[in-house]
């Protein structure tokens, strides 16, 4: 078991400070990028384009288009799984920001088309619709821009929560891949028609550089790096172990697993290279710290999976020897997120399993860690026995919170505990001075987080990752 150096607590505070400086830096750059886009446009005489109705409308359209493009590139960067962003914001928060930019980017894109059609039309004495047709027919590359707009609409609409729920994950994923086509078809008209990114201007170089950087980041982090990792670690399924009716662990062997040490609790996208499986990546957290190979035994990795649908049910039938392509590790569910000496972990159902891995690896003194496990009954505290063993070995305060949920109040605690007057403070009195890791179903976790915040835990100390898409 890892022992904690005396300076570990101070180290955690410093680590958290550095992380927040990085977060500020990313926020700073993120906000500055649309400003830079507008500024460059101004630098090439943009401000003089408001002389007439036609010019002013066109100018508004241009600015809307520039900011929209900038937001799309930001969204791609946030989804590129760049280690610097992942280590700072975490995959979960990066994706949350990614999602929040989707609608603004689309609205600006539509405004861009509309204002340009009105502005150009006014300059030529055409109504916006005739102007749009004329642009489509007469101006090279413009038909691609129209297709791009349609693709963007499709991508954003299928990502709306209400729409997304009606379709399987695979459908959403396939449509989302069209983003690349949408961006690709939008580029030609930007560089050829507008005159905005004209040859020999800084603006052209700025946008070229931005597009190239985004493209490279995506290519490296989402394609090349996973391929390297897959070849380097040679992960292979060794066996599938049933834990309960609908939960099983997949145990795998691999090479060079010492390089993945400390990633217990973090997640990978796993792609099982067998007929019918290979095309679908599954996000699962490690449910144990990776075990490096010894002279006699191979290195080991383990994930624990609950059957939630047809896709996960089929994983239980994976054959030993199946090769696995990996992308990861991702997320902040690790020691890298620690900011305090004390740690509190609260998990429910399958969400207990990443906590099991984290509890094994993250440093703390005996007595400084508290673990709350919630389930309908003891059988639902998956890996509960293993957590018990770690708790005994490392001096962890462990609570099993089992029993039916409260019928009315909507508490995250079991009905019995709530009736008896127990609250979060009963189990973790010093929670305000601890790092709090929460993992479980979204509805339940939401209630826990409300309670944790009410107990005076600042956002910096709260670590939560959603596992729905």
């Amino acid at each position: 078991m890892p022992a904690m150096a005396p300076s570990a607590a101070a180290g955690f505070r410093q680590q958290a400070r550095r992380r927040w400086v990085r977060a500020d830096f990313i926020t700073f750059l993120g906000w500055l990028s649309p400003v830079a886009a507008v500024s460059l446009w101004l630098a090439y005489g943009g401000a003089s384009g408001f002389g007439s109705f036609a010019a002013a409308t066109t100018s508004i359209g241009i600015v809307a288009g520039l900011i929209s493009m900038d937001l799309v590139l930001l969204m791609l960067l946030l989804a590129a799984r760049i280690p610097f962003i992942d280590n700072t914001l975490g995959h979960d928060r990066a994706m949350k920001i990614h999602k929040s930019l989707g609608k603004p980017a689309l609205y600006l894109l539509l405004a861009h088309g509309l204002f340009i059609a009105i502005g150009y039309g006014a300059a030529e004495g055409l109504d916006p619709i005739s102007e749009s047709v004329s642009l489509w027919v007469n101006v090279p590359d413009m038909w691609l821009a129209y297709i791009s707009t349609l693709l963007f609409v499709a991508v954003v609409v299928t990502s709306l929560v209400a729409v997304r729920r009606r379709f399987p994950y695979e459908f959403w994923y396939a449509v989302h891949l069209l983003t690349y086509a949408a961006v690709a078809t939008s580029l030609p008209h930007q560089f050829s028609v507008g005159g905005l990114f004209a040859q020999g201007t800084w603006q052209r170089w700025y946008w070229l550089a931005l597009c190239m950087a985004t493209g490279s980041a995506l290519l490296y982090n989402r394609v090349l790096e996973p391929i390297f990792a897959t070849f380097r670690h040679q992960v292979t399924v060794s066996r599938v172990v049933r834990i309960s009716k609908d939960v099983f662990s997949i145990e795998m062997t691999g090479l060079h697993l010492d390089e993945l040490s400390g990633s217990g609790g973090r997640f990978f996208f796993w792609r099982f290279l067998a007929p019918g499986f290979w095309w679908q990546p599954h996000p699962f957290s490690l449910s144990a710290e990776p075990i490096p190979a010894t002279a006699t035994t191979p290195g080991k990795l383990r994930i624990t999976v609950r059957i939630l649908g047809e896709g996960t049910a089929r994983l239980a039938r994976l054959k030993p020897g199946t090769k696995v392509a990996i992308e990861g590790p991702y997320g902040m569910f690790s020691t890298a997120a620690r900011s305090r000496k004390h740690v509190v972990m609260i998990g429910a159902g399958i969400g207990i399993t990443p906590l099991r891995a984290l509890l094994e690896s993250t440093p703390f003194e005996p007595g400084d860690a508290t673990v709350l496990l919630r389930g309908h009954d003891e059988n639902e505290l998956f890996l509960g026995q293993e957590i018990m063993a770690i708790a005994e070995a490392r001096g962890v305060t462990l609570y099993h919170l089992t029993g039916p949920r409260s019928p009315k109040s909507g508490s995250w605690l079991p009905h019995s505990a709530q009736q008896a007057g127990f609250t979060l403070a009963s189990y973790a009195p010093h929670i305000a001075e601890a790092d709090v890791y929460v993992c479980g179903p979204a509805g339940w976790a939401g209630k826990v987080i409300d309670d944790v915040k009410a107990a005076g835990v600042p956002t910096e100390q709260l670590h939560y990752e959603r596992f729905d898409w």
Binding site: W20, V21, A23, D24, T27, F28, W31, L32, V35, A36, V38, S39, L40, W41, L42, A43, Y44, G45, G46, A47, S48, G49, G51, A54, A55, T58, Y120, A123, E124, V139, P140, D141, F191, S192, V193, G194, G195, L196, F197, A198, Q199, G200, T201, R204
Partner: protein, 170 residues
């Protein structure tokens, strides 16, 4: 820290916008100068040998091509002389070129009018026109590539040129 980031972002944003705006104001001035010099060359008449036209200021927005060059012979083969192309309207302004044909070759292409609706357009014209001119002289036809970032100006330029070449029976 959140406040610090917000303040830094706000200050930097304002600074960058002012910097962009200021250098944009500077560009506007030079842009205006460029467009002036363009129009002055436009009205200075033809230079290359052969018959002169001196109709550089023909700003008539006629749809068809008007040949103002003195044709030395009435044959249907390419005739030496200067020919004005049609005036092509674009959303950035009017484009009209004049071509000089001598001995069956395009010897000069001159822009009589170029897009100048805004300073930005004048700037684009200022770099696109020389590029197009040299491409045309090399290719000896209006069938050349448009200039990146100046598609509309290029198209208008080449349309006007084609009209002039048609008039010259080139």
């Amino acid at each position: 820290m959140r406040t610090r980031a917000a303040v830094a972002t706000a200050l930097a944003s304002v600074g960058i916008l002012i910097a962009g705006w200021q250098s944009g104001a500077h560009v506007s001035e030079t842009g205006a100068a460029t467009s002036t010099s363009l129009s002055s060359t436009g009205s200075s008449g033809t230079t290359s040998g052969g018959s002169t036209s001196g109709t550089g200021s023909s700003g008539t927005a006629s749809g068809g091509s008007s040949s103002s060059g003195t044709t030395s012979s009435g044959t249907s083969t390419a005739t030496s002389g200067s020919y004005d192309g049609s005036s092509v309207q674009t959303r950035y302004g009017t484009v009209q070129v004049q071509v000089t044909v001598q001995g069956g070759k395009i010897t000069e292409v001159k822009a009589l009018q170029l897009t100048d609706a805004e300073n930005r357009s004048a700037q684009i014209s200022a770099y696109a026109a020389p590029v197009l001119r040299s491409e045309v002289l090399q290719a000896q036809s209006a069938n050349v590539q448009t200039v990146g970032g100046a598609t509309i100006t290029s198209d208008a330029y080449l349309t006007s040129l084609q009209a002039a070449l048609d008039a010259a029976h080139f």
